[in-house]
Symmetry: C2
Subunit: 211 residues, 2 copies
DNA sequence: GTCTATATACAGATAGAC
DNA sequence: GTCTATCTGTATATAGAC
């Protein structure tokens, strides 16, 4: 086993993995054949089995790879007041979706299709979603405790509704037929609505222009 | 061709169609084999081809059948004022989803997966969605014209955001892991938020208890 | 490690008896 | 109309040469 062999093997393995990740994300598990992966990665089918044993194992490893860039940047909230933190979280969600359209779409379709069987991949996705929502609850709760938001608001429900709106904007984006306002527009409108809801201020107050 | 034969043929055809509708909705097109449809409908594969020519035609006919109960009841809005009409539309959406969980889930997954190729089925689903949103825009617009809602609101954007929230609540329902508030709860919270947004009233005003 | 050749299973679809 | 038997293609996976 020479170094040269090791390196080449590693690169080929990665090439297969990258190709598989892309194809699974674009087409789903069933509709992606190993023949196609082999063709587009320019290797033989047999080599895929040598590296990954089975289609299912390849899939799981490829999906994990796709999930790698998924994380939440809590540090970016430091130094902002609560309304600005809420706005920042909303923007973070949008930017993340925007930067990962293909894979987000893929995981969304997985989520919608799965019949509630526990799935390792989905539980990881759900965890990220839950963490994000919990950040939102915390910020809103803190704002209420500090008197920035009125006591009449309901942090868990308001957070869940904001998350639903974000998820819905995401879905509409995938539908888009031209008659729906574009996502970026709706995000701005959501921030205005949320600001109004959380502070009780008059309509049209700009949350948008904040630092 | 006796009547007896006609009737039996019709029943068998319907049995195949019902089985196919269910399996396609639960598993999708690729993951549903005609062998499975034949087995569960207790007929031979050949009979499926005799009745429907091909898997693709069976699919299209089965999907149309699934779409049959999809419609929007505009008559139910008569005699209500605008805020109540908005609330009624929101409730209608929720009830509809609740009554058609399986097929709604199926069409949602179709929508999310499709890569924007024009699809006869999806365009029908999109049309229903668009009609529903347009009803919402009309109601909000009329309310604004009549001075029930302030001029500062933005009917197309507000309607689109409400639709996004509804779609998002729908998606969250499919995810639900127990940590998210239940859909019915969020629907009520959405109505409160919308009422507040559209009328500029203080937090907590009940839109819920309206006729 | 990487290939070609092959085994095996099952998909969609057809032929033809009844 | 409904069946059994079969065709043809392609899928996952294996064997074995290099």
């Amino acid at each position: 086993m020479t170094d040269q062999q090791s390196v080449e093997s590693h690169e080929t393995r990665e090439k297969i993995l990258a190709t598989a990740s892309r194809l699974f994300s674009e087409q789903g598990y069933d509709s992606t054949s190993l023949s196609q992966v082999a063709r587009e990665a320019r290797v033989s089918k047999a080599l895929i089995f040598w590296h990954f044993d089975s289609k299912e194992k390849l899939y799981h490893i490829a999906v994990r790879k796709t999930l790698e860039p998924y994380f939440i940047d809590v540090a970016a909230l430091a130094g902002l007041d609560e309304p600005a933190q809420v706005a920042r979280l909303i923007d973070q969600f949008y930017d993340f979706v925007h930067d990962n359209v293909y894979s987000v779409r893929f995981f969304l379709s997985l989520t919608v299709q799965s019949e509630g069987q526990p799935d390792e991949v989905l539980s990881r996705v759900n965890e990220l979603y839950r963490v994000f929502r919990n950040s939102l609850v915390s910020v809103i709760d803190r704002g209420r405790a500090r008197g920035v938001f009125p006591p009449s608001i309901d942090p868990p429900r308001d957070a869940a509704l904001i998350m639903a709106s974000l998820a819905g904007i995401l879905v509409q984006q995938f539908v888009n037929d031209g008659s729906t306002p574009v996502a970026k527009d709706l995000i701005e409108h959501l921030k205005i609505t949320v600001f109004q809801r959380l502070t009780g201020s008059a309509a049209g107050s700009p949350l948008a222009g904040r630092p």
